[in-house]
Subunit: 286 residues, 2 copies
């Protein structure tokens, strides 16, 4: 086997990767799916919100006649834990170009009663059916080459408790937005990084739902410690991503009254803006 | 009566204005409200999406223990018409700081069956209970003084069919984003205007839901004619607006595959960023 073929063989394929296995759903009844939320996508003890959104997104892709999330809005209700969960979907409307659905993720309390974790509304379509016109004034983020950016594996020691998701992701952060890691936050609400899955699986519309919520919070660069739980996250998927690593740029402009917004852009290797997202998050001072 | 008192007397109050009367709901059952959608908020024949969002927002303010929409996401399913409608709400979760609810607006087909127009998910809180810290890098839009901007009443002739909502709003558009009106669009996806209600009612969190979707589409300045129906609109209300006219700035950066985003910011007379919104809209070429 040539060296190139060997490298190729070690890359996980879409449909056969950690991300796919950990978002796989077991149909229980029409529109109802069981899943065991993986402990592999936790930050400290919380299950990552982007991973959870991808789980809900996959359920809706199955339940709706269209496969690609064009716009998906999630309201986060209670904190999810690794372990059993059920996703219940509801088809709101089906159309020729777009279909709209709703989904909720539930887990179980000590008495086995369902507790709702997240509720989602989304409109799905077929990205491959869109015309290929692009008129954009958006520009890819100015970010150094991947080998000049830094990930958790490049530091002297892993951040305690934060390693589970780090093993599943390839995140290389622009040094210009990494001051917080050495105690010198820039004071700017910016975070930029190269992003991929650690096993080399290429991006698809579902993994974009993870990509928009996987970087360290911009609040770190604003000098804030503590947790920044998401209240609501809306993602627009604008194009099917090309193979190769993504660039993710996150910006916070307005921190006020204990809340902030995080605006994310995701760019693919063809310099195409493939996703835009915004979330409203609470600032819990640590 | 002094001149100032007379001017004051002619200004409608919050709670007693066209906007309040036209978004008023009649309780039918717990969480269920009837309304006659006013023909006063139509553009050509379509009921304005921001007015409809305000109707749904008012229903949730009644149904939830918190009164102010912090983040509200609406998926537009079918076109609303002036006339009878029903809003059905569902309390998803109530918390100390935030409550989450869902609401749908229905109208009736020829056989009297309910047809869903819009579905909404929202998290509500109490804006007055937030700390008054503000750290922002956002800047108010560069827009000329109100008397140097132009509204529908300033043109030589009203745009045919578009006048109903124009009578209810005070919109004065920055001449720099008004090229489309004289056949010379700038090619930039920008629209900026002063915004208020024609009867002088001051803004509140519910009227902000109208303000983000009341300007001409940025597509006009991109040289596109025809209609730009909203697929999904999410609004974050970040502060209770001060009295006086608002400034609304809308930006589109990415028109691709027949869809575009419209990002709106709303600023109050105290130079406070009071709302941020983003919508995904379809471009239907006229």
């Amino acid at each position: 086997m040539s060296e190139a073929a060997s490298a190729q063989a070690t890359r996980a394929a879409i449909g056969d990767s950690e991300f796919d296995r950990d978002t796989a759903l077991i149909p229980r009844a029409p529109g109802v799916y069981d899943i065991d939320l993986s402990a592999g996508w936790t930050i400290i003890n919380a299950v990552n919100g982007g991973y959870l959104l991808a789980v809900l997104g996959r359920a809706l892709a199955d339940a709706l006649p269209h496969a690609d999330p064009f716009t998906i809005s999630a309201h986060y209700l209670t904190a999810s834990q690794p372990g059993p969960a059920v996703v219940r979907t509801d088809v709101v409307r089906t159309g020729r170009t777009l279909s709209t659905g709703q989904a909720s993720l539930f887990q179980y309390d000590e008495e086995g009663r369902e507790v709702e974790r997240i509720r989602v509304l989304a409109s799905y379509g077929d990205l491959d059916a869109l015309p290929d016109d692009v008129r954009t004034t958006a520009e890819p983020p100015a970010i150094p080459p991947l080998d000049q950016c830094f990930g958790p594996q490049d530091g002297p020691a892993p951040v305690s408790g934060s390693s589970a998701i780090a093993d599943r992701l390839m995140i290389k952060i622009d040094p210009a937005t990494l001051g917080w890691a050495v105690g010198a936050p820039s004071g700017k609400g910016e975070m930029r990084a190269w992003f991929g899955l650690a096993d080399g699986r290429d991006a698809d519309p579902l993994s974009l739902l993870l990509a928009v919520d996987a970087l360290p919070p911009t609040a770190f660069e604003l000098g804030l410690k503590g947790w920044v739980p998401t209240v609501e996250l809306t993602v627009h998927v604008r194009s099917r991503p090309a193979p190769g690593p993504l660039r993710v740029s996150i910006t916070t402009r307005n921190l006020a009254g204990g809340f902030l917004e995080e605006d994310a852009e995701v760019w693919d290797s063809n310099d195409r803006l493939v996703a835009q997202s915004r979330q409203l998050a609470r600032v819990r001072l640590g």
